[in-house]
Amino acid sequence: MDENLKRDIIIDNYQNPMNKELIDDSSYLKVNQASESCIDNLDFMMKIEDNIVKDIRFDGEACAISTSASSIMIRSLIGKDIDYVKKLLTNYKNMIEEKDYDKELLGELLVYDTISKQPNRIKCALVPLEAINKMLEELDEKKI
């Protein structure tokens, strides 16, 4: 992807993020994702029904990378089933960590395919991934 196009997508998602507003609804899973090494502090909430992600929302103070990554990831995951979500998250993580990954699967998230060149940004790009993983773990625990 062209570097300028990547920047446009990131800035657009930072300035007009998808679902950057929490709602008061106890049927959602919730998690706070605060980083110890940087100052990002985001709250996430996710609604899953019949194995399908119905909604993900977030809010808080965070940098351009973690905010835009949250926005893009939310857009990529809503409406998908959990197996797909897990597969996408694994591939996203692999991309960020410079391992093999499936390009087809990641779509717009490919804007972060060179983020590993900026070590101080890797954690930011992983913020939404970790938040969603935590909520999925919570879901698994509930099922047991």
Partner: protein, 396 residues
């Protein structure tokens, strides 16, 4: 001024993060290299030349501190820094002198190290914590403070200069209130001692804490200065070698009568020697001169940034070298990452004052904190780099 004395200073690096820690002078570095390479030895126990030399420097460091802060009838205890000093005074003194229901006055601009130890004391013995209101400029509201005083209030614990707003608190007036109402006054000097002259006796302080690393000294050492009348009732937290006179089979023991009773074990000797050298260096320049210069630099910075309508400043008027701001539309950390690309070191965050965001309405700011070795030319460079509509684009 004195830029040639600091090996990290160069044309390629602009260091504006002095509130976090300062650069070290050659004199400080060399004093420690000398200790580690020429006369390494422990204190208080050896009879050989190196040990005598070490003893003399370590002991004289205490006097150097005492004179520097003008604390004549007080004890100067070496700690690991401000954080340990405040924790120490809370645990070894306050815990034994306060009781359930006693009130400690803090304010929402305090650093975590002057908040959390009191939170814990509240958990442990049930003290109450109340917050002195801040003015619109986020400075201490003295009138409100006066109205808060009653016979339940037993402690005021306050930073002399706050590390986000940089306002210099009127310790003299606060200490008058304390004296006439039997209130202990604890002052966090982390951001004042390095930048201005502080008169412990003249200001009427009971407990004073500060860190060497914020005043061109080494990490790992700081001081707790306590009025002797109070320190005699302070219970040493750590026990061991170097602080006891004798101990016996029946379990009884006697402790040193001087400050070393609070310094069990081998202290950071090289670092104390470095702290001593740092104070000698600062005294040579003169603390009043340092403060005046920093205030002038900040005024210059504010006047320049005022021309940039994207910059939101939170503490334009405070009388120190600290400026907190944001760039409209860009997250504080993105600004600091951007500035790093131009080799300018600043800090983004809440600066450990996490209660302050309720007051300012933003959690995170970019902080420039100046020191005497910074220059107007460096400020010009910062101002130039911030005058850019594409910061966000350039930082991702």
């Amino acid at each position: 001024m004195n830029r040639e004395d600091f090996p990290m200073i160069s044309d390629k690096l602009i260091y504006f993060d002095n509130g976090a820690t300062t650069l070290k002078s050659n004199s400080v570095i060399n004093s420690m290299i000398d200790y580690y390479s020429k006369f390494t030895s422990n204190i208080h126990r050896g009879d050989y030349d190196a040990a005598l030399m070490t003893n003399e420097l370590y002991d004289s460091a205490r006097d150097t501190v005492r004179e520097f802060v003008n604390a004549k009838d007080s004890e100067v205890i070496f700690t690991s820094g401000t954080t340990m000093s405040i924790n120490y005074l809370v645990t070894s003194f306050m815990k034994n002198h306060l009781k359930k229901g006693d009130v400690v006055l803090l304010n929402k601009a305090e650093h975590a190290s002057n908040v959390l130890p009191w939170f814990r004391l509240k958990e442990e013995i049930g003290i109450e914590i109340e917050y002195i209101p801040l003015t619109e400029e986020f400075e201490i509201d003295l009138d409100s403070l006066e109205k808060m005083i009653n016979n339940k209030v037993k402690v005021i614990s306050i930073a002399h200069v706050s590390n986000v707003i940089g306002d210099v608190r009127d310790i003299k007036s606060i200490s008058k209130l304390c004296k006439s109402n039997n209130i202990y006054l604890c002052v966090d000097g982390a951001q004042s001692i390095p930048h201005m002259s502080v008169d412990f006796d003249g200001l009427g302080i009971d407990f004073l804490s500060f860190s060497a690393h914020k005043m061109i000294g080494p990490t790992g050492v700081g001081c707790l200065v306590v009025r002797r009348e109070l320190s005699k009732d302070m219970k040493p937290i750590f026990l061991g070698g170097g602080m006891n006179l004798d101990f016996y089979n029946d379990g009884s023991y006697e402790l040193h009568s001087d400050e070393t009773r609070f310094e069990a074990g081998t202290p950071p000797i090289g670092e104390v020697i470095g702290l001593r050298e740092a104070i000698l260096y600062l005294e040579k320049i003169g603390m009043d001169k340092i403060h005046k210069y920093e205030v002038e630099l900040k005024k210059y910075l504010v006047s320049k940034l005022e021309k940039n309508n994207k910059i939101i400043m939170y503490n334009k008027t405070s009388h120190s070298g600290i400026l907190s701001f944001n760039v409209d539309g860009v997250f504080a950390q993105d600004v600091s990452i951007y500035l790093n690309k131009h080799n300018i070191c600043v800090r983004a965050g809440n600066h450990c004052a996490k209660l302050l965001d309720e007051e300012i309405g933003v959690s995170n700011t970019v902080r420039v904190s100046l020191y005497f070795y910074n220059t107007k030319e460096e400020i010009d460079k910062l101002v130039e780099v911030l005058d850019n509509d594409n910061i966000l684009r350039e930082v991702i």
